[in-house]
Amino acid sequence: MTSSMAPGNAQTSTWMLRLGQTLRAMASRPSGAIGLAIVLIHLLIALSSPWLVPFDYKAISSLLILSPPDAVHWWGTDHLGRDVFTRTLLGGREAILVTLIATPLAVAWGGFVGIYMGLVGGKLDDVLMRLVDAFLALPWILKMLLMIATFGTGLGVLIPTLAFFYGIPVIRIARAAAHNVVARDFVLAARARGHGRLSTIGRELLPNVLDALLVEGAMRWSWMLLAFSSLSFLGFGVSPPTPDWGLMVADSRTFLAIAPWSGLYPIAALSSLIIGINLTADALAKTLGVDRAQKAPI
């Protein structure tokens, strides 16, 4: 044993070891295996679909309006004659892109503030929690729409907006998780040794709070997808003709009884992804031993 056992190396190798162990443990559970599989499939499709799709998503055809699934259009066409299969495969790209960027941002900023508050406590903590409560008092949709009304609907607006708003409940959760850890002696021991606040957060708190944050992050992703597609449904998200599942469902509403395929396929796609993420989060929580509080989305 040479200095490969020296502390610095031990740290990175244990981290990677844990990652591998966690993934394997998750995959060994039925819920984890299914969930991971679904999520991976969706991600692969989202990445590769522009090269896979048979038709142009914008191609309108007045002849083929609302035609049922057949050999050419596998999943039929919508009210403008566009191929549903193409649009469904492409429909997740915006949503996944936006939410995959916004979620880590939300967890990062909410997590940091929450942990810091959990460690510091005191007046600042009280005031901040009041603000957080007051903020959460407003229905999420109102807050979203206000931001959109102000700044428009481009990706540049949606990503920071979602990251900001969805980081706020993370503050609460991170703070609660930090509270559980802060009271324990090893944090006191670190302070007694003379470690500063920031280094205590990074070294002592974070590794222990990380599990809860990871599970929360997975759940946040699913709530964000939900919000994003709801916004699109209401007409405040992605603008046509960009394919998006929420938008597709909204468009198909009037014709649903006569042409269910135009709505059912995007519904299936969106639902399957969200269920997949939830199953993964559940398996992650069970593997890591995190107790999940059942909270409503903001």
Binding site: R130, L131, D133, A134, F135, L136, A137, L138, P139, W140, I141, L142, L145, L146, A149, T150, S222, L226, S229, S230, F233, L234, G246, V249, A250, R253, L256, A257, P260, G263, I267, L270, S271, I274, I275, N278, Q294, K295, A296, P297, I298
Partner: protein, 319 residues
């Protein structure tokens, strides 16, 4: 005890005040103001200045805030720029409709959720639990607009039992909303029930695994008595908070449902207010929603205070 209640009330009022401040500031930040919204294309030059003077938009923000806040307290929420009607009239009808929807959803969903959650916990990991938990997870993860759409498809499109769209005018008396209201209530209740079911279930399981329930079993307490006396009171206490949180969520979820079903409630009004840049209306609705949320939380807090022996005795000692 009284002191704790008063403190909670005070805190609630402060929260509502804070919220009103946030709303006001948010709307201030938006480009344009009530006059640009009112006058639309004509919003320029002298007409704009006159309008602003008339509506008092020249005064400082702080003054305007206090003016707005004080009139809000008396129930006067100003005028809607879009329809030039008194906001309080507009809102009153819509509020009643949304409340109808929400209260019915609660009336249907809450008992169902509690019953199902308790049963699922008592039959943990057996088939009943798996089915109920599975349904709950399904309902929770699917967006409301999806489940609402599916409900319309099945019950209105294919089976034709219920109307898929609400055509009743906003000011109609409540009983005219039936049977159109059935599907919206179902859609709303679905998600709410799922959340509460899961929470009740996990709270029950935690209590069932506790030391004191084990002690009761080892004391020879019969199963049914144990569940009623020892398990339920302890398990349902934490559920109160979640119910409050869910009600808060309802205020957001109701918007989507109202849009899907074309229901003439507060949520749909809000969407159109935002689309129309009717800022005064937006402010008013946001304030009402926030006030309802705070009120519900306050009730939940007080209920917990009364029901939880630990808090009750602490209060006694303090006062």
């Amino acid at each position: 005890m009284l002191r704790m209640i008063l403190r909670r009330l005070l805190l609630g009022a402060v929260t509502v005040g804070l919220v009103s401040l946030i709303i006001f500031t948010a709307v201030e930040v938006l480009p344009g103001d009530a006059c640009t919204a009112l006058l639309k294309q004509d919003a320029q030059g002298q007409r704009l200045t006159n309008c602003r003077q008339e509506l008092g938009l020249e005064r400082s923000a702080t003054l305007r805030y206090f003016d707005w806040a004080s009139s809000a307290l008396t129930g006067d929420l100003g005028f809607s720029a879009h329809s030039t009607k008194r906001i309080s009239e507009l809102v009153a009808d819509r509020l009643k409709n949304s409340l109808l929807l929400g209260i019915m959803a609660l009336a249907v969903g809450l008992p169902l959720a509690f019953l199902a959650g308790i049963l699922a916990a008592l039959q943990r990991d057996k088939w009943l639990d798996l089915v109920l938990s599975g349904l709950a997870i399904g309902a929770m993860t699917i967006p409301e607009f999806v489940s609402a759409t599916m409900l319309i498809l099945v019950f209105s499109g294919w089976l034709g039992w219920l109307p898929g769209i609400v055509l009743t005018p906003p000011s109609a008396p409540l009983h005219e909303f039936f049977p159109a209201i059935v599907l919206p209530v179902a859609a709303l209740a679905m998600v709410m029930t799922a959340h509460i079911l899961r929470t009740v279930r996990s709270s029950m399981i935690e209590v069932l695994d506790s030391d004191y329930v084990r002690m009761a079993t080892l004391k020879g307490v019969p199963y049914r008595t144990m569940v009623w006396r020892h398990v339920l009171p302890n398990a349902l206490l934490p559920a109160i908070n979640v119910v409050a949180l869910t009600v808060a969520w309802l205020l957001g979820g109701v918007v989507v449902i109202e849009m899907v079903f074309n229901y003439p409630g507060l949520g749909r009004l809000m969407i159109s207010a935002i689309s129309d840049r009717d800022l005064a209306l937006v402010q008013a609705i946001a304030l009402i929603v926030a006030a309802v949320y705070v009120l519900v939380n306050l009730l939940a807090d007080l209920l917990t205070l009364v029901a939880n022996p630990r808090l009750r005795t602490a209060a006694r000692r303090l006062s």
